[in-house]
């Protein structure tokens, strides 16, 4: 399992690490009800802002 601390990923940002571990996250998060979010800019949910109170990305329009 690669992590942000692993030597071979030390030059990667979090977004790259998350995508590189997509299979792991799909397994971990599978019991959680989530909106379908196709990858890529087309057709997916739009994340407008970061809500730092609840530490989540917001799917609603800002």
């Amino acid at each position: 399992m690669s992590t942000l601390n692993s030597e071979h990923t030390s030059d990667k940002n979090l977004d790259e690490v998350l995508l590189a571990n997509a299979e792991h996250f799909e397994w971990l998060l599978s019991p959680m009800p989530r909106s379908s979010t196709p990858p890529g800019h087309e057709g997916g949910l739009v994340f407008h802002k970061f809500n730092s109170m609840s530490q989540t990305w917001s799917r609603s329009d800002a």
């Binding site: 979090l14 019991p31 890529g40 739009v46 730092s52 109170m53 609840s54 530490q55 800002a62």
Partner: protein, 371 residues
Amino acid sequence: MHAVSGGVSGTALGLRPSVLVMQPTTLCNLNCGYCYLPDRGKRLGMPAAVNRAAAEAVARWRDSGHQVEVLWHAGEPLAVGVHKFENLLADWPPGTVHHIQTNATLIDEAWCDLFHRHHVRVSVSIDGPEHMNSGRVTRGGAPAWLRITAGIAVLRRQGIPFHMLSVVQDPAPEVAQLVYAHACDIGAEVLGILPQETKGTHGECSSTRKSQWVSFFAELFTLWRAHPVVRLRDLESVANCYDAVRSGITVDDLLDIPVEPIPTVSYDGEVTVMSPDLAGFAHPQHGAFTVGNVLRHPLEDLLSRAGSVPWVREALAGVDACRRICRYAVGCGGSWPANKYFELGRLDGTETNFCRNLHQAKIEGALSCQP
């Protein structure tokens, strides 16, 4: 196009909040060892005019199609009494979503009736089983445990769903087991974790290390994966970040996203932005952490000018620095000025222990979970 209040840095403050924090009283009937609130021993209540000014701003936002949720916090909100709280709520636009953060000790049937009628979403501060709450004491120094659990029992009897917010001091994996089991036992809907912080009037530094917190979150998330009964706020925030990244968000996009203003209206009408935990404190050079008072100016005007207030400018520079240099920025957003100020002594700093022990650790914990 986002409406923003600019500063000298590249990161701007948003003008339309998602959540507004209200301090109906400074008083807390408990005196917990790790509490950071500066005036929790004083009974300073919010006048009706302050409440009305904030409610009117939310009504104007609603009329323009923007919904703002309200969080009653920064003291023990229930300490104002159920009758006065009912009067405060009466000024808010119908349909406003109200949240309350409470120590539960004052909850009775009358409060539950109010929660039902106003659809108030309740979050209870309880750290875990009894021995984990030894620092949570009354003003006379007596353990608050029995009063906390009595309040939770009333919530359960009345069928009020509630969240559990746990401040964790010892991030051992066994503690993760105890906290999750306790959340299941008391019937919490959602569990949130906060590492004990160096903040406000609580200046004690935590000696815990990030690696311990990574193990803590890995254990917590593994427990949930095997037995997904209580939702985990911290794993859901990782999931939201993961979903955002899958939808195409990159760390570069983050630079253009305005900072959530999180206006906090103190009991006297003073407004703090970006972090409720700065309310009631003052910076040695900049003075009080306020951007003005709702009794003198509409909240929208205060937010539109906030980006030029020196302490806010400095805090925005800190967010900008985080977003530019930190590899975790897409996970935390780079804000959290109260932790920067109280840990580093400056608002434009970047990485804190709080970052490492919460934002970084929960992501690495999620990565470390094993089937």
